[in-house]
């Protein structure tokens, strides 16, 4: 039923053929997930190079978001393997994966509307002993110290993202675009090594969108953060990604630099095929 998807077949792109340790921050191997009779993901395999900005594209229903959910632990894959930073994270719970500094955003923004912006930010900081009841009692000074650091870091990031004056407002009062910025800023509070963004540009006005993309490049260049993002706007994908992974009908069908993928036969078939089916 998936003619063009050949799971396990080496990708056309030359570099990620072997498992070059240190080179790939994330390796997904032959992951599958079905709901009832629907094969949402069916043999997805790819790698994400450390320090890259990688785009994940594909027609609607290709299984991109489901794949994100499996990688980040929000859904259990039926089979396959996900290696992150040298260790398997397949079927691990989301909070365990997030603590290894892999953080995601959601297609529909999950800004915590009933909490002030600043609390959204400080919430995300890792290693706060005060988040444990025992820590509150036995490590109170450490918790206070950490809280101070976290607040400083949060204000820095809010400055960068132009949300400083909104710090004490409820996140529910922000505009859609500002919420996307907040979600990205909050993700950065986790001090991530890999950030997964599910359609970061959707519903964002062009100037805010550009700002978001600029931040992505800065963070990659300055801090070495790796990004994997789902995007439908081909112009954005072509202009801003180092590498592109293409999914169709649950499987990855191609990967490589943008210009190479753009001319790939299977990719063209997948997009055209979907439109004539």
């Amino acid at each position: 039923m998936t003619e063009q998807a050949v799971p396990g077949e080496p990708d056309r792109a030359p570099e990620p053929a072997g498992d070059v340790d240190g080179e790939a921050i994330l390796a997904v191997r032959d992951v599958a997930k079905h709901f009832g009779g629907i094969h949402a993901v069916d043999g997805a395999s790819f790698e994400v190079r450390r320090g890259s900005i990688t785009a994940l594209i594909g027609p609607n229903g290709a299984g991109k978001t489901t794949l994100f959910n499996i990688v980040t632990g929000f859904q259990r894959g039926d089979r396959g393997e996900v290696i992150y930073d040298g260790a398997s994270i397949f079927r691990r719970p989301p909070h365990v994966i997030a603590r290894r500094r892999m953080v995601r955003t959601f297609q529909i923004t999950k800004a915590l509307a009933a909490m002030p912006v600043i609390d959204n930010m400080t919430l995300a900081a890792p290693d706060q002993p005060g988040e444990k009841l025992t820590g509150l009692i036995f490590r109170a000074p450490a918790a206070r110290r950490r809280e101070k650091e976290v607040h400083e870091r949060a204000h820095e990031l809010l400055d960068v993202f132009g949300l400083r004056e909104k710090a004490d407002d409820y996140a529910g009062t922000l505009s859609g675009g500002q919420r996307k910025l907040l979600e990205l800023a909050r993700a950065l509070m986790v001090e991530p090594r890999l950030v997964l963004l599910d359609e970061p540009m959707a519903g964002v006005n062009p100037s805010l969108g550009r700002k978001l993309l600029d931040h992505m490049h800065t963070l990659r260049d300055r801090d070495g953060v790796t990004f994997l993002f789902i995007e439908h706007d081909m112009d954005v994908v072509m202009a801003h990604s180092d590498e592109v992974i293409v999914m169709a009908q649950g499987a990855t069908i191609a990967s490589g630099p943008p210009e190479e993928v753009r001319n790939d036969r299977a990719v063209i078939d997948a997009y055209l095929g979907a439109s004539v089916a």
């Binding site: 709901f35 009779g37 629907i38 609607n60 229903g61 929000f74 439109s275 089916a277």
Partner: protein, 341 residues
């Protein structure tokens, strides 16, 4: 747009094909449940003897009749309106007391009293829809808000009845002493009528849901509100019909319960409510047939349990079944698994 539609169509076909395959290949949960119940029955017959088993089964069918009738309304209201109605048990109480007023205070014959109680409780159900639930839906009220309102309503019904009728037990003018025996099994005369009437109504309810257009619409709405609205079902009419149906049956169940037990107190509804929830969840919340089956299963389980543990624990057995089902199979025997995210 076209692309998506075409794709959705293909996926739908694929889903149908694979669903057909999988249901043929493995046993469906209702079948498994049936097998489990059957083997429990056999085990009980072998260890406890045929007569005690038969007698508890008869007793179980008596409670099954009012459990099932109470549960089907609770589940339909949940399905159509996503309202977990904690006041549903008190609709049974209301039904019982209306019958008491008609039958004992006004001296009407019992059959007429039953009709009164069905009519009054159905009208009450419609009134709550118009005065409370519809305006709250229009406001976009959240889950907790609605839950607490149903609880408030439960307080108001139960204690208004207590205010006027007091807490002393009351009885309808039905024969509670004479009984019939058949192949060694005993059943009270009134209880026999309760079972027969209860199951006759159950069959009628099942048939109405299956064959009448209103019944089909109710089930469709219960299955998927938005879809039913898009598909052109007059949801307002069906919602009203659901309330009439649900509350009317609750009223009837209240009368049947009182007749079978012999008396009524203002707290009978709350007392029954958790059993009704158990039946509803057993059958898959929102699923009308599931609630009917769940009610019967629960009635049998509670009575069968008296063969093994002291009868005073039988209600607790019902709640344990409830908790067990939620833990093992939260979607119930007939419910479908919800797709995450």
């Amino acid at each position: 747009m076209e692309v998506e539609a075409a794709e959705a169509g293909a996926v739908e076909k694929e889903r149908g094909r694979l669903a057909g395959l999988s249901s043929g290949a493995s046993l469906s949960p209702p079948v498994v449940a049936g097998l489990i119940v059957a083997s429990i029955a056999v085990a009980l017959i072998v260890t406890q003897g045929l007569q005690p088993f038969g007698q508890t089964t008869v007793n179980g069918l008596i409670s099954a009749s009012y459990f099932a009738l109470g549960a089907v309304g609770l589940t339909l209201v949940y399905g159509t309106l996503k309202l977990v109605n904690f006041a549903h048990g008190d609709l049974l109480t209301l039904g019982a007391y209306v019958a008491f007023v008609a039958n004992v205070s006004l001296g009407l014959p019992i059959l007429l009293a039953v009709l009164c109680s069905v009519a009054v409780v159905a009208a009450f159900g419609v009134a709550t829809e118009r005065v409370m639930w519809r305006p709250m839906r229009a406001k976009g009220a959240g889950l907790l808000q609605l839950l607490i309102m149903t609880l408030g309503l439960a307080f108001v019904i139960r204690y208004s009845i207590q205010l006027f009728a007091g807490t002393q037990p009351r009885s309808l003018e039905v024969d509670v002493t004479s009984s019939t025996s058949f192949v060694g099994l005993t059943i009270g005369q009134t209880q026999l009528i309760v079972v027969l009437a209860g199951f006759a109504v159950l069959l009628a309810v099942g048939a109405a849901l299956r064959f009448t257009s209103l019944g089909k619409q109710m089930r469709a709405l219960s299955d998927n509100f938005e879809l039913a609205e898009v598909a052109g079902i007059n949801t307002d009419r069906v919602v009203l019909a659901t309330w009439i149906f649900a509350a009317g049956l609750a009223g009837l169940a209240g009368v049947l319960y009182t007749s079978a037990i012999g008396n009524m107190t203002p707290n009978l509804g709350f007392f029954l409510l958790l059993s009704l929830f158990a039946a509803v969840i057993l059958g898959g919340i929102g699923n009308a047939y599931g609630a009917l089956a769940g009610g019967v299963l629960l009635g049998l389980t509670q009575e069968w349990s008296t063969l093994l543990v002291d009868a005073r624990w039988k209600l607790a057995v019902g709640f344990l079944v409830l908790i067990l089902v939620l833990v093992v199979r939260p979607q119930g025997l007939f419910g479908r698994q919800e797709r995450a995210l």
